[in-house]
Subunit: 241 residues, 2 copies
DNA sequence: ATCTATCAATAAGA
DNA sequence: TCTTATTGATAGAT
């Protein structure tokens, strides 16, 4: 009875191979994804590296981490993003703004602004809250987010400016700083450190606050049958170390 | 003299904040990036999750990990990839296929095939070598890779088929197991485990083999003046845990 | 979800 | 690079 007070017998070594047990797999994914995201955050903070990370859960639910828009574009288009920028705002793209989704968008918009108003903006020059890790988004939500962000952009910029104005009376607003960057989501004028608050609300927490909606399981496993050639178990193989 | 045989005094706790010392920063980035990639691999193997990871070093050198094409497409275009695929092979895009780069491409193609022939394909159903983590690629190389992959696709599929045919005469191809996924790069007919070799050449190693060309420091830190607004210290903020 | 024993990652130093 | 002492991550049980 003095052998163990609570909990299990501690960690055991496991082989790095596909976990068959559904339950264990789910748990492992959760734990390890969390760990992975944390490591990614740490790396980016420690070394100022820009990191983008996307993980699709076995259930097909996407989790993203980092400022993906910027990095993905850099990666995909390289320096040649202008080429694709020409028809960047293709009207066809807009058709995803369905009525049903508008409601969701509205909800997100609210939470976004709330988090902005309540916690962030306490801002060092580098405290870009919108670069906060985005976690727990379904594919639907990701798509939604894309347009959301565009729309939200103006609102937030406006809002944050207001807040800054209120907070420190003499703010030398360098309004010239948000220029046109098709990839950047937005950017605040990089205020002074006057409003710096305590750090009880770190990125992860803000993230939780902002993005943790009821994540409905969006099953896109049965995708379009256009090019059936590939994928399946994309990463799985017999890799031990 | 029995206190310590070699090495330092062991790990010490560090605060998660920007490392100022250039040297330490470099070392930390290397170590932690490696660890991060490993974790990402483990996650994807353990849970069959598809993972893509991009990290730009403080020097501005991109490192990617995972089957990025697949994931990026999913993320950026969502289900609507057909829309952009219309002008996917825009002739303008081809202009990056410079003569100088063709040589590089040729080199890569060779290494790719070599690694395929020599080490991989030893294969379980899930041993997709092209999903091997890609590491140490400069931006140039990444761009190059994109087109490389497309071209290489046919070659490899052909080649692997040949190899499989040779290796096992009667292959009861369970072709039903990988169904349709429009995003995947390619797919082999999934042979039997007859050719399974030892595991002396794991993913990391293959990766090293495949992608470790002389990585010339491609400095795109001074990016086009168009989007100098953003980026900078994209992730840095006061995040401790 | 929480806990704990263990395993794995890594900060310093050689 | 390589080693070691430590911190940090996590598998299994609760």
């Amino acid at each position: 009875m003095n052998k163990q007070r609570k909990g299990g017998d501690g960690r055991k070594r496991i082989k790095i191979e596909k976990i068959k047990d559904k339950s264990r797999l789910q748990v492992t994914f959760s734990k390890r994804r969390k760990g992975l995201f944390k490591k990614a955050t740490e790396l980016s903070v420690l070394t100022c590296a820009q990191v983008a990370l996307i993980a699709f859960s076995p259930a097909g639910k996407p989790y993203v981490c980092g400022n993906t828009d910027l990095l993905l574009d850099r990666f995909v288009n390289g320096e040649a993003s202008e080429i694709h920028q020409k028809d960047h705002d293709d009207p066809e793209q807009r058709r995803y703004m369905e009525v049903e989704q508008e409601l969701e968008a509205e909800k997100k918009r609210g939470v976004f602004l709330d988090s902005l108003i309540n916690s962030d903006l306490r801002g060092g020059n580098d405290n870009f809250w919108w670069n906060t890790y985005v976690d727990g988004l379904s594919l639907d939500e990701l798509k939604q987010m894309k347009s959301d962000m565009e729309q939200l952009q103006k609102c937030v910029a406006q809002r944050s400016n207001d807040l800054k104005m209120t907070a420190n009376t003499a703010s030398s607003s360098s309004s010239s700083s948000y220029e046109d960057n098709p990839l950047a989501l937005m950017k605040l004028p990089a205020g002074n450190d006057d409003i710096v608050d305590d750090d009880h609300l770190n990125k992860e927490m803000v993230n939780e606050l902002v993005f943790d909606f009821d994540s409905q399981e969006y099953d896109f496993g049965t995708t379009t049958s256009t090019d059936q050639e590939i994928t399946a178990d994309m990463f799985s193989d017999d890799y031990y170390y």
